[in-house]
Subunit: 190 residues, 2 copies
């Protein structure tokens, strides 16, 4: 895609390599090769593999938290908030390969204090999402269930898109978004 910064190109190549080989087995040399840079030039843009992982994880965490701020601050009901949050996850999963790294298992390779900070952001996001689910259950819009089970089932249900989605895939992004949100919302409702 045109207009991507060198930094974004590096983060995307790293996300692919972390997914395919794992964080530990990826070297800075692999990353330089993947984007046809000399290793010495790569170091002009980024200091270490750990710094790349940190950027990927915190960029994504902040994107979800900022989405949560927008959505949760609106004067709409819990069902509309949940719909908007599912759509946010679908959007991120289909437009940015780096999200697969942050939200599958690679964040486990962060080093402290980043690891603790990241877990805290993640917990914050999940707790706010659970609160919206609980409000929906208390007001009788949603079927009463364990909010953790409901939350993780929702979040997990769109994860396959990270790996599978390409713009040329059928049935197209609009229909995919509509069918997944409809399945999940109908499943949650009373």
């Amino acid at each position: 895609m045109a207009g991507k910064s060198k930094r974004q190109i590096i983060l995307e190549a790293a996300a692919r390599s972390f997914r395919d080989k794992g964080y530990q087995a990826t070297s800075m040399r692999d990353l330089a090769d993947a984007i046809s840079l000399k290793a010495s030039s790569l170091y002009n843009h980024i200091g270490s593999k750990q710094e790349i992982l940190r950027d990927i994880c915190f960029d994504n965490a902040n994107r979800f938290l900022s989405g949560m701020d927008d959505i949760d601050g609106q004067n709409i009901g819990p069902l509309e908030k949940i719909k908007a949050l599912i759509e946010l996850h679908i959007q991120v999963a289909t437009e940015d390969i780096t999200s697969v790294t942050a939200f599958n298992d690679e964040w486990r390779h962060l080093e402290d204090p980043d690891l603790s900070a990241f877990i805290q952001l993640r917990r914050n996001y999940e707790n706010r999402f659970k609160k919206i689910l609980e409000t929906g259950m208390q007001t009788g819009v949603l079927t009463p269930t364990d909010p953790t089970v409901a939350l993780y089932t929702l979040l997990s249900s769109v994860r396959w898109l990270y790996d599978w989605y390409k713009p040329e895939r059928k049935p197209g992004l609009d229909l995919i978004r509509q069918q997944i949100t409809s399945l999940l919302l109908k499943g949650l409702c009373q």
Copy 2:
């Protein structure tokens, strides 16, 4: 758990290490250390890291295919079959850590001809599952959607259990199973 064979203990330790460090970064030495064996003793039980991965992937693929044979052979409707298949995925995810390896990304590290054979088994399983979904749509029991989108949303939605579930977790396995299947089946239905 009592009564596990040495082979099963090795496969489980390997699945944990593949998940935490990645397949490529795991050495036979790491595996021997994880189960307090000498590396030379480990080789009495298993020939190579690739052999462990192969055993894990094919054990799990065969387990799902045999579950599919049982379920699809029964004289029940598509909705009952889908319910039984979701329950099968929940059961495997909560009782065997090695399934996380086979069904997340580690199977990508299989070498041919195993890689092609595994992809073929996987495709076979998915196609049979999609056929059941399509039958449900054609007979008007399920909402018409793209069967691939429905299938991957279902399979993906229980993946978090691999990592999260422990017998002491609340609300307990029976309720978790009931809440997840209810959410998904209600979501799929007309």
